[in-house]
């Protein structure tokens, strides 16, 4: 037994600072946050009566919070769809050697290096909601102005200034920033497919489409899974970008749980704010935990 300790003792000791830090800064804080969410601390007035799940029930029954959840779903779907489509398309075109492929890859990827705040500065301007056919339309700027000047004026719309679909407009800058990353994932996936496999399939007389369907897509599915998990969880947490684009945090059209948590926090409603944070955690965990368990099992093989 001691020999075993001697074997893995030092290892454990070396990573123990990390373990302690994460135990405190992640797990202990999560527990404390859940505790706060179960009190009635709704103002700066100190009050820590335990109220159990009352805040959660009230939040889920609240029409505004439901709207925020619906927005979050819509945002995630559009964000995922956009990045997967563009990321796959670019990877598909670029996976065969091409002249200047390094240049194209670099351009598609560079938005990832920029912070959401910085990109929010320009996208706020681009997504400005005034349209040329409205009163005051001569003040139109951004994409609406561009669309109008190239003859696509009918495509103008109010972007995020819409109570039902506005959040989908927020997905546009997010797609712009992250499609390159998904492209890189797919490129890696493509290049992980051995050439022999393709050759073998071709020799067997497979058509291009059958090749994709039976060889390439299956090989790419782990990559796609990774992309869905990563983009999905980023979407659930998205906050910086929304804050950078929408001036007032308390704007109904684009409310998602992350912004509601902030608004409640400013209003000193710490219990509700903590509850929303916990709900966000649960949502992310639903997506991420199965994935982590799956990959952990994969590695055991």
């Amino acid at each position: 037994m001691f020999k075993k300790v001697k074997t893995w003792g030092p290892a454990l000791a070396l990573i123990s600072p990390t373990l302690v830090l994460l135990a405190v800064f992640v797990y202990a804080l999560i527990a404390e946050n859940v505790r706060i969410s179960m009190t009635n601390q709704h103002t700066a007035r100190p009050s820590s009566d335990f109220v159990g799940m009352e805040n959660y029930f009230r939040l889920f029954g609240d029409a505004d919070f439901q709207h925020a959840l619906r927005n979050l779903l819509l945002l995630t779907v559009v964000f995922l769809a956009g990045t997967l489509v563009f990321g796959f398309l670019w990877a598909w075109i670029l996976e065969r050697p091409a002249f200047g492929e390094g240049f194209f890859r670099s351009v598609y990827l560079f938005p990832m290096a920029v912070s959401f705040i910085a990109s929010g500065v320009v996208w706020r301007w681009l997504l400005s909601s005034l349209q040329t056919d409205q009163s005051g339309g001569e003040r139109t700027t951004g994409l609406n102005r561009l669309l109008d000047s190239v003859g696509l004026g009918f495509l103008q719309n109010s972007w995020w200034s819409d109570p039902n679909w506005g959040i989908a407009a927020i997905a546009v800058p997010a797609i712009w920033q992250l499609s390159g990353y998904v492209m890189a994932l797919f490129l890696a996936g493509f290049r992980g497919i051995p050439e022999e496999l393709r050759e073998a399939a071709r020799i067997d007389g497979c058509s291009e489409w059958k090749l994709y369907r039976h060889v390439i897509f299956p090989q790419l599915s782990p990559v796609m899974l990774s992309a869905v998990i990563i983009i999905g969880h980023m979407s659930l947490k998205l906050f910086d970008l929304i804050r950078a684009i929408v001036p007032d945090a308390n704007t109904y059209d684009i409310q998602v749980p992350a912004t509601m948590m902030w608004v409640k926090y400013i209003g000193s409603d710490y219990a509700d704010s903590a509850a929303i944070g916990t709900i966000m955690l649960v949502l992310v965990a639903l997506v991420v935990v199965p994935y982590l368990i799956y990959t952990s099992r994969q590695e055991k093989r």
């Binding site: 700066a44 505004d64 109570p163 308390n250 704007t251 209003g267 000193s268």
Partner: protein
Amino acid sequence: MRRIAMLASVAAAGLLLSACGGGSAVEDANPSEASGSVGVFTWWADGSEKVGLDALVDIFSEQYPNLKFDNLAVAGGAGSQAKSVLAANLKSGNPPDSFQAHAGAELQDYIAADQLEDLTSFYEEAKLNEAFPKDLLDRLTVDGKIYSVPSNIHRANVVWANVDVLKKAGLDPAKPAADLDAWFADMDKIKESGATPLAVAGTWTQVQLFENILLASLGAEGYNGLWDGTTDWASADVTKAIENYKKALSYTNSDRDTLSDWGPATQLVEDGAAAYNVMGDWAEAKFSQDGKKPGEDYVYFPTPGTDGVFDFLADSFTLPKDAPNADGSKAWLTTISSVDGQQAFNAAKGSIPARTDVPADKFGEYQKSAIEDFSSDTIVSSLAHGAAVPVAWLNELSTAVSKFGGPQDVAALQDSAASIAKKFQQ
């Protein structure tokens, strides 16, 4: 190596903390002996508000040459951004030496959280109880104690209008409408002439517009009753008021939520793209800074239907508990409440002094009229600016108002507002 780095940072943190002494009791703090720097937290980070702050800082440096003013200003009108940063700082135990807060219900949260020092003795020393009007003192007093020093009074029920746009629509700038219905009729004329009748910006400015419509529709008593429980939110009067708000919104610019703050909306009026803008009288400082002349380029009048009512908000400064330099804080508070300080600040910022003994000759035309109104009008508290209700109530009502901007469902807003009021009136 990393252990050394971590040890070093912990040691540095410790040194930093010991350098900031603990906050001494207010009674011991003596402003005339104060030295060092005074960190003052406001949201006057740009525009006309910054100009006012700068003027105040000049007086402060004159009165207390040993003290250095540390500007901790954070941008974002009505202080939304600043309040969140301040909340975080207070919660994490790093109070500034003084911070700006709206007088009235907004202070209640800080008082309840035991984050403010009692300034009643300071008021007696500085003889402020004689200098400030009684209504104001009442608004500032909580359970017999006063917790902040007002620097200025603002009015939230003013309409700013562009003279040329009015003339072009056939309206007389010198004769504003007498009530809401007449005003809406005027707005129809503006619409026909091709300009946007009413300019408004994001959520908090919409809330301010909403409060003005409420005030105009319900009168001062009815309006006050909304907050103290004597007016029933579910009543037919309130329904009519909300319908008036809906009508007002129909005259506004469609990109209101995308405007980054109150400035761009007022700018629309200044530039002649819109006719009217309901905004607090800090807009006055903007107009004069941009070189516009009252009467020639722009006119102002109380929101139609609210003549004789002064919808007030007051900026005030507090002394947080455990402030790093309490001496310096008291010096700052002395400057703010002094005649010179109030005069310099208010002349630059477009507001009026809280003190009643400041000579009015240094003030502009608008301010002179406001000073007169303040002494004779009925005073009510502004909703949007933290005077009427505490922050949490305001936030929820703001969400409801923001939501209204889309579908404009009158019944929904009325129901929401009623249940929110019920929740907070307990």
